[in-house]
Symmetry: C2
Subunit: 206 residues, 2 copies
DNA sequence: ACCGCCCTCCACCTTTCGGCTGATGGGGGC
DNA sequence: GCCCCCATCAGCCGAAAGGTGGAGGGCGGT
């Protein structure tokens, strides 16, 4: 019997996963949590399970699921299977780097979900088809990656800052900001800040 | 008995809503659809229901739910209750303008969902609390709204186009594009195209 | 008929941005 | 030890964008 902890801030999704799981004879939901804090408390309090089903974003908290995953893995908890609607490169990579065993999108058919749960419970990786495709295309084009500093700059560009403003915010000279931007333009194959933003968003950076 | 048609591309969400609905004695799901096309075919083929539960976005199609709502309302179909994860001004307004009877977020508790279904089935408006708050704040600040043309321009700015490129794409003179942008900056209280993009995204335009 | 809003366009000027060609120092790999 | 990448900075130039101050036509409301 596979014991599952279900953590999602959407009651409807929790009910859905529970309904799907209950049609399988070899798995059951032993606990539902609406927040990552509740999940972590439950685990810390001695809760045991074979797999944690976890959403990535909770309300306004964009990285709640990633942080919780890191905590669970660090504490030697059960394998984590991410179940979310977001399929950008950044989300997927962040989850995998945090130690997630699997990554599934909410639009996956139910048999894919149960298969992923069985795989995750056995400690095997369980990546949805869409997720696998994204990872592969990223591997085929590794030059898209920006350095930490470049991402810092690009993020501030996305908030509407001028080169001067960005320089001030990062305690740099304007020349350095321009230099970073020039590198960004080169890597993304564009020639303006707005085009860079567009390209970066399209590729899941930011 | 309230007959419900359930339209969502997420199998898990469909299972969840079905599970919630089946705990209520006075309502039932008479049909599940994974796409708006399937829903429209079913209705055109004589399918009858008291309320349509509809997601807004289907896969890559951003406005699938809005278009379907328009079609259903135009055809005199059953009231439409939007059930979605997206809570930006633009999404909500588009749905309401298309004729949706209600708008609920997927993170709503289950009793809110059943209450909204009953209201929608009776033809009464059914807006979730978060949605109501958004509409009120928008009413308090109506000056945030951009004209059609301004949104056209801003969208192309978001794709990284220069003023010249935008002018060419919209068959305008560069002066007109600059004029639209000047108005946009004024309305949003910014002074650069990237800052305008940032502000527009934050307020759910685009 | 008038007013207001939207869309279109023009000219002039200042600021900013992007392209180019550099330079320096630190860290990691071979 | 050497080389490459990253991060930092500089100056110069042309192009683009933003600010100002207009103008005219269309359309809807009062």
């Amino acid at each position: 019997m596979i014991d599952i902890v279900l953590t999602d801030d959407h009651p409807v999704v929790r009910a859905g996963v529970r309904a799907v799981v209950e049609t399988e004879p070899d798995m059951r939901v032993v606990r539902e949590c609406a927040t990552t804090a509740e999940l972590l408390r439950w685990v810390a309090g001695g809760g045991r399970a074979d797999v944690v089903l976890l959403d990535l974003r909770f309300g306004e908290a964009q990285r709640g699921g990633v942080d919780a995953t890191r905590d669970l893995v660090a504490a030697g908890g059960p394998p984590v299977l991410i179940l979310t609607t977001y399929d950008t490169d950044g989300d997927i990579l962040a989850a995998v780097e945090a130690g997630a065993t699997g990554y599934l999108l909410k639009d996956a058919p139910t048999d894919e979900l149960t298969a992923a749960i069985r795989a995750a419970a056995a400690g095997e990786p369980a990546l949805g088809p869409t997720v696998q495709r994204r990872l592969l295309t990223r591997l085929r084009r590794p030059d898209t990656s920006l350095t930490r500093r470049e991402i810092d700059v690009l993020r501030l560009v996305g908030e509407g800052g001028s080169n001067d403003a960005i320089a001030a915010r990062l305690s740099l000279s304007r020349a350095t900001v321009k230099s970073h931007l020039a590198h960004i333009y080169n890597k993304l194959g564009v020639q303006s800040r707005t085009a860079a933003l567009s390209a970066a968003r399209q590729r899941g950076i930011l």
